[in-house]
Subunit: 373 residues, 2 copies
């Protein structure tokens, strides 16, 4: 195999998570990854797929998603065959989702390198993204667990960070560095210090590794989970798939892959990071939607409008209006507002308080109208 | 006639004005006075009528309104006969509206006292209101122009004020005082001074006078307008009504009665004021709607809800939500918000900026969707 080819590389796209801080745009029945949240003209899932396609054709893309979204995912990704869409009867978090995909791929293609990329993140400069992935795959072939950390453009307090250590001097992966630590979302002053130091990258939750290495880490740090995954994977391409999956899957521990693979690997010096010099956002709340929309539209209008701007009238107003109905929306005297107008639900908040939408969602769950979630 | 009877008293209810700062609740086709803006269970027009009914039966109530609202006004006030509903082909302001009503009443009932009461104000303590009107009628019989000024409960900057002077010592109207001056809406510090002095009353735009006295003032200060009104009134109860009205009415000067009657009368010491000890609000904007609603509901919840409260979910939110649709409305992280959700239009502003709604209405007039006004 040529060192430039990525024939051994498989992309795993976990397409889960409701994105409840993006309610009422993101709903249980139509979650964030099935929406064109950023107004790019494509759903986040489709964009994720198209970004990866030049690296691995459709036969090497595996999507893990909920049973309820299977039809919509297949409609969005007609190139991906049914055997490469793994349907979960219920969400068991990222260790189970990515672990099962890794185990299935390893059985079908021993020695494969997999990369996991969330279906609901927004990335610009796709060529730079692929350059980083290519380096990551080469480092992964050396037996490392590899992540891609985003070079910060501002002292964001919305993301976790990765502290990068010494260069690793890997052939074909010149920018690979040791990961010293993961750090939680910082306060503003700390975030400014991180940015100034040049040693911190945003944690975008991307992991690249040989499937077998990832499963080794999982076996070491979550042995019951790993055993369950292997039991399902053994049955996957056999007539026993449904029976075994139905029995084992619901018993798997719900735990993020950060805790079962990434952090343990970092602790023993087996985690590498490739700095990524591309725009990235997890579009986690409406402040992020406003942020990515403002970047995309490159205008300085204080009120961003997603939808038909002819039906929005404003006076001394800033923030973001998302219009999904044909109603007139009039906004006055609000310097930082979020208005999301959908057929059956209306949200009003501010970018500064956009995280509080999760409290509203919790309240609606307990209300007489949980059907709008 | 017994001094306690008010058989010579006629109520004039000018029912005009769109209430554009209350858009999208108040619309051109369904203005404020035809709405239950305060959530009392009755339209403001109906409430105005019922408040006056114990003083003068339906045969002595004259409503002046736009042709477009004639049917709705008659539906709201079935007791009022067609001959007592004066329809304007176009709005010509309060001097023309009240002046024409006065001239018609004077011809039908020479010597009548009329009182003019806007159709779109909110009043509580109706018995106290009627006590004040009764005193005002008695003072009017003495040849005075009389207004009712509201005893302020707080240093409001939303209303104009009346500076009260010496007691007038009129038999049957013991609280009547001379009006020294009208003053414009004050700044906060001035309003506090007014309140502390005890000499200032809110100008509620209520005027009581003999019809003939009012027409005299009008003739003195707006002679062309008065001549036009008299020409129409002469023809009113004849077959020439439509021809004369169509020719003369559109030529009448548009001017508020404050300038043609009240202020000139005040200047020459012919204006009396009766202090009114009742709740009053002109419900001019959504800050006022919130104010009167909070008073009515007597609860301290920071978010007032007009509409189905079961469909409103809030977190750290204050202000007012008006819901006319069956959508879920979710509001978070906004300490002072106004949300008005109607079928074809949505308004978001704050109580502090509620006056800016008129700027939105102006913008919508110029937009592609003036039909929502």
């Amino acid at each position: 195999m040529s060192p430039h080819a990525l024939d051994d590389f498989f992309a795993v796209i976990p397409a889960g998570g409701v994105g409840s801080r993006l309610w009422p745009l993101s709903r249980a029945g139509r979650p964030k990854f099935l929406r064109d949240i950023a107004g790019t003209g494509a759903t986040l899932l489709r964009s994720t797929y198209e970004r990866l396609e030049p690296l691995c054709d459709a036969s090497r893309v595996v999507v893990v998603t909920g049973q309820a979204h299977g039809d919509e995912v297949r409609a969005q990704l007609p190139e991906v065959t049914t055997e490469n869409v793994v349907l979960e009867s219920e969400g068991r978090d990222s260790s189970a989702a990515i672990g099962l995909a890794a185990a299935i791929i390893e059985r079908r293609h021993p020695g494969a390198v997999i990369g996991s990329f969330a279906a609901d993140h927004l990335i610009s400069a796709n060529a730079r993204f692929r350059r980083a992935v290519t380096e990551a795959v080469r480092a992964a072939r050396e037996g490392l667990i590899v992540t891609i950390g985003i070079q910060p453009l501002e002292p964001s307090t919305a993301f976790g960070y990765i502290r990068a250590g010494e260069p690793l001097e890997i052939l074909g992966a010149p920018s690979a560095r040791q990961v010293e630590a993961f750090v939680e979302k910082p306060k503003a002053a700390t975030a400014r210090r991180y940015l100034a130091s040049g040693e911190y990258l945003w944690n975008a939750g991307m992991f690249i590794a040989r499937a077998s290495r990832l499963l080794e880490e999982l076996a070491a740090h979550a042995p019951e989970l790993a055993a369950g995954i292997n039991e399902i994977a053994d049955a996957w391409d056999t007539p026993q798939r449904d029976e075994v999956t139905a029995r084992v899957w619901p018993t798997l521990e719900k735990i993020a892959i950060d805790y079962t693979v990434a952090e343990p690997a970092a602790k023993k010096g087996a985690l590498a990071v490739i700095p990524g010099f591309f725009g990235w956002d997890d579009v986690g709340d409406f402040a992020a939607v406003s942020r990515v929309h403002a970047t995309a539209s490159s205008n300085e209008h204080p009120l961003d409008i997603i939808g038909d701007a002819d039906r929005v009238v404003s006076y001394e107003a800033g923030g973001i209006v998302v219009s999904e109905t044909d109603r007139i929306i009039a906004v006055a005297g609000v310097p930082d507002i979020v208005v999301v107008d959908t057929e059956d639900a209306l949200l009003v908040t501010t970018r500064a308080k956009a995280q509080q939408v999760k409290n509203l969602v919790a309240a609606i769950k307990e209300s007489e109208h949980p059907e709008v979630l």
